[in-house]
Structures are given as C-alpha cells and as structure tokens.
Symmetry: C2
Subunit: 333 residues, 2 copies
C-alpha cells in the first residue's frame, strides 16, 4: 500500500483551553495486520466534546490519552484488508481507531454499518453515539410525559438537536438554548422546536422565563456553568435533569460554582449523570427508532464536515467554543 | 379552661440568619372548638431546619408562614377536649398545630400515638418524621448494598444519626461528618459509626479521604456548601446522593457555589432531592422497622430538650448553627 498513515497525536496536556500546539500531526507507515486482525481506512472522524476530558490526566470513566499517543475517537470507514474471519474487505464499519487515517483492529467494539438508509457519516451522528445519547438520556432518564416542557442546551449540536425533536415526537414543548440568532433560527425553523433562547443575547433569565411559561420539567444538560444555574431556578416539582455534558466547563481551570442547588431539594429533582456506553442494551431499540424517525422526516440533522485530518485540532478547538453547527465531522483525506 | 394559649409568631421575615426579634411570643385565649374539631394540648414541639424555609416568602413545596402567623411545626400532645367522633379526650397525638400550647384540629394530618414502646417525645424524632426521612432517603433513594461506604453529614442530628445506624444494619461502612470532637466521639462510640470527620478541624479533604479509603458510594446530604464539594470529589462510579437538607445554606443571602458538578457526570451519579411527605405509603413499614430496631438496641437516639416555649426562637437559631445534639425538642410549658 503506497499511502501513508496520517495521525494526530496528543503532544502536551493542555492547561485550560487546548491550543493547536498541544497536538502533533505525523505521517508514518500503514499498520501491518496480524492473524485475527483487519485494517480500517477511516473516511470520517467524529469530533465530540468528551474528547477534551481524555486529554487530562485525571480519574474518569475512561483512561486518558497518553502524551505522544493517538487522539481517541470514533471513525466511520471501511475494511481494506483482513485476516479476521468476521470482517471482509469492503465492509463499512464504525470503530474507535482514533484520529488517524488507518487503524488495525481485532473487532473489539467495532460495529458494522449494514443499513444504507443514510450516508455513512450519519452513523457517527444521528444514527450513532450522539443520537443514542439523546435517546437514552431523554427517554430513560428524563421520562418525558406529553405536555411537559423539555429544555436542552447546545440545542443545535449533534445531541441537543435530537433531544428536542424526540421531545416533540413525545408531545412535549421543546425549548432549546443555543448561541446566536442563526443557531436559534435553525432550531426553531428547521428542527421544529417551540422556542430557542440565545444565551449570547445577554437576557438569559428573562428569555428563558418567556420561553418556559409553565416552568421546566426536564432539562437535558450539555453545557453546565451559569446556564445551569438559570435553568435550576425555573424547575418544576419532580423535574429531571439528564446530565450528559458540561462543555462550558471543560476548558476552565476553576469551574463555575453552581448556586441554585436548593432548587434540587425544594423541587425534589433527579439530577442524573450518565454516559451512553453504560447503556449498551438500549442501542438496538434506539437505532431502530432513530432510523425510522429520520426516514419518516420526523428527525432532521445537519453535519459540519471539514476536509482533512490536519484540520482536526483547530476544528476541535472550535467545537469546544460552540463554533460547530450540528454534528462536527472531519472527512479523512 | 383557665390556662392561656402561649404562641410564637413570625414577626418579620429574616434576611439571612434569623434573630430573636424576628419572632414574637404572645399569650391569648385557648381556642374554642366547633363540631367536628378537637383541642390538642402540646407537650413537645419539634424544631427542624426546614422551618427556616417557611420563614421566607418564596415558592417552595409548602406555603410560607404569614407574617403575624403562628410558626409552623409538629407537636406531640394530647386531646384535652373533643367534638370529633374519631378523637377522644386523653388520646396522644402528633399534629402540625405549630409553635403554640394549644391548637384546634379537624383531624387533618393528625396521627395517633398508640405504641408505648418509647416516650411520647420519640415520636417526633427516631419514630417520627426525622426517622422516616432517614429510612426513605437511605433505603429507597440510596439503595445501599452491603460493603458500600455511606457518608452522612449532620451525623449527630436527628436524621443523620439514624442514617448511619441503618447503614450499619445494612452491612455498609458508615462515616459521619459532624462539628466538633464531642459530636464525633458520640457518633463513633455511642452510635457505632466506623468513622466521623470533624468538619471544624480544618482538614476536611484529608480527613474525609482517610475515613473513606474505598471512596464514597452514598452521600446522604443534610448540609450543602463546601462540605458537598469535598464529598463530590470522593464519589465512586454510580454513587447516589439523597438530598435531604442544606442547612449550611439556609441563612445565607448568597448561596455557596458548588464546583465539582463534573463528578456527577464522570461518575454517573444520581443526585436526588426528596421530602419525606412525598413518601407517605412508606411510613408504616418505616415506623415498624424503626420501632423494632430501637427496641432491639440496634438504633440509639438522643434528644436535646429545652424547657419552655419562650425559648423556642433562641433554640431554633442555635439549631441552624449546629448547636443541637440529637433531636431538638421544646417541652411546652
């Protein structure tokens, strides 16, 4: 194989916001495969906020990336060589081979893409981890009932956009929180949310109150920080908060102090952290429902695709600052 | 009836910590009862941190006390006159007649005390609302498993003392947090906790780490504030936090900002506010178990009894500052 392997490594552990110099792009040989392995040529790399956590050397639910190691992540690609009986050349797969063009795998954690309802890239977004995250968090933890008000932050993102659309399917009022008028217009006009609050407009408390006249029953949390405090003050009795992410906090060295904890007590709120990989038994049902909803037009999605792995670091830095619109992908060159 | 009715009224809504001048003690006539009512002569008044919330004019799970109204609270007393077919003179009852010597009732929310296993006062503590709060919060929300580590704040108080002792009955390691060496000694030596951290000693992070070598699986929260942040940093994966009270915050005009929200996400924690009155179906089982555990010596309790209703305001102010030891009661003169 004449092509080289392009890789993005973690060069330094960032303090605060990552810089491009915290990453290093290298070129090297394509990995050799042994018996029982196969070679994946990545076509799309998914960029997700959780990756910021893997850059830190702290106890978490997953091990950190080693300094000098390949950045972790999921790719959609195809099998280009195989010495594994279960995977054939030409098959489309989803695999955690990381920020690189080629990766060898023994099949652990690899999922085959057998449906061609949607393009391959969609299996990293609405039909993949972000979609299932929205599904499990909203339905299993949030337990929405028709007529309730569901608020979701990062509403135009890969997870938030699906949360609000499922909330509508379940008969709820869906209210997004997003940054800027373009995202808010998209959330209302394209995704069909009932309202969207622009947190950058400087009137968060008033705008949130206007958008949630009957209070908030479910808050699907992706961002944390001051937005969380504002939402806590509008919770109804027995509200639920599926806690999926805290993207506003990942780059801070001193996290924001949340003041309205009293609302959790007064309103008997369930505030529940979750990670989709703990919910594997729910994947088949989630993927089946999401596929049907996308096929029937009840769930729409948008992708931001950037060309070339060398641009992954800058794109990831932008994602952490809310510069993406919909699911952020890198098309691997 | 020659005796007067002594009452403690809310004179002003406090800003921050209540002062004695926020209360007013008045004497007036004993209430007349109508058909369908009966008259209760209170013997013991329960003082509880939740009462601080009722002094504020804010949306909560219960209406605030009116300015000029009788302070709310539960008393243990006896029926001294009755025009109600269900209540006879001489019967012992628990009733929410408030901070006063006499109260008329139509029976709403009144429980009869039929057991004489323990003195009447115990039905306001270990066999009453605080005991059931500990039971429901630890067992139903916390779901302790043998071998887990349970931490409880305000460990020498009416609720915390029962939480740790039930944790021991369920095979857990019980760790208290309390203020001062006397309380900590009591929690370990008398109540049988495995360890107790004195939060006033100035080494909270280190002492908590030493007391919880295998991390924390359940944190029964009574106090909030900085202690909560320290505990959050030691949670294990899938930890549970029954949120019962935030007594360190009730007198603050600006609440403490909790920084370690990220731990809820990384460890997939359930942080669940609750109020015992939402759990009425569980009361009979809770009272039956608690009675048996007290009778068999597996649960011990302590009361601080102050003589005279006129001392209720100062005693309540002390309770909010952690000056009580065990269940705080007023013996009504």
């Amino acid at each position: 194989m004449s092509e080289s392997n392009l890789q993005v490594l973690l060069a330094h552990r960032p303090k605060g916001a990552p810089q491009e110099c915290d990453f290093r792009v290298v070129e090297g040989p394509v990995p050799e495969i042994k018996d029982g392995q196969f070679l994946i040529r990545g076509r799309y790399l998914s960029l997700d906020p959780y990756m910021r956590g893997r850059m830190n050397d702290v106890k978490s639910y997953a091990k950190p990336v080693e300094v000098g190691g390949v950045m972790e992540g999921e790719v959609a690609g195809e099998v280009v060589a195989s010495r594994h009986p279960g995977f054939k050349t030409g098959e489309k797969v989803l695999a955690r081979t990381g920020w690189q063009r080629y990766g060898a795998s023994d099949g652990t954690g690899v999922r085959k893409v057998t449906s061609d309802v949607l393009p391959l890239s969609a299996h990293l977004g609405v039909l993949g981890m972000p979609g299932v995250t929205a599904y499990v968090g909203l339905l299993d933890i949030g337990q929405p009932k028709s007529g309730e008000t569901v608020v979701v932050s990062a509403a135009s993102g890969a997870v938030g956009s699906v949360v609000g659309q499922i909330a509508k399917i379940k008969g709820c009022r869906a209210v997004g929180i997003a940054g800027g008028p373009d995202k808010c217009r998209y959330v209302i006009d394209e995704l069909g949310f009932d309202a969207c609050v622009d947190y950058k407009a400087g009137r968060l408390a008033d705008d949130l109150a206007a958008a949630t006249p009957k209070g908030i029953d479910i808050y699907f949390e992706n961002v944390g920080g001051e937005i969380l405090d504002h939402v806590l003050r509008r919770l109804n009795a027995f509200a639920r908060i599926p806690l999926c992410g805290l993207v506003s906090q990942y780059n801070l060295t001193e996290p924001y102090g949340v003041k309205s904890i009293g609302s959790l007590l007064m309103n008997r709120v369930k505030f529940q952290g979750f990670i989709v990989s703990d919910h594997f038994p729910r994947w088949p049902a989630a993927i089946a429902d999401l596929t049907e909803w996308v096929r029937s037009g009840r769930i729409k999605y948008r992708e931001s695709v950037v060309q070339g792995l060398r641009r992954a670091p800058a794109t990831f830095i932008g994602l952490l600052n809310g510069r993406n619109f919909g699911k952020q992908l890198i098309e691997i060159d």
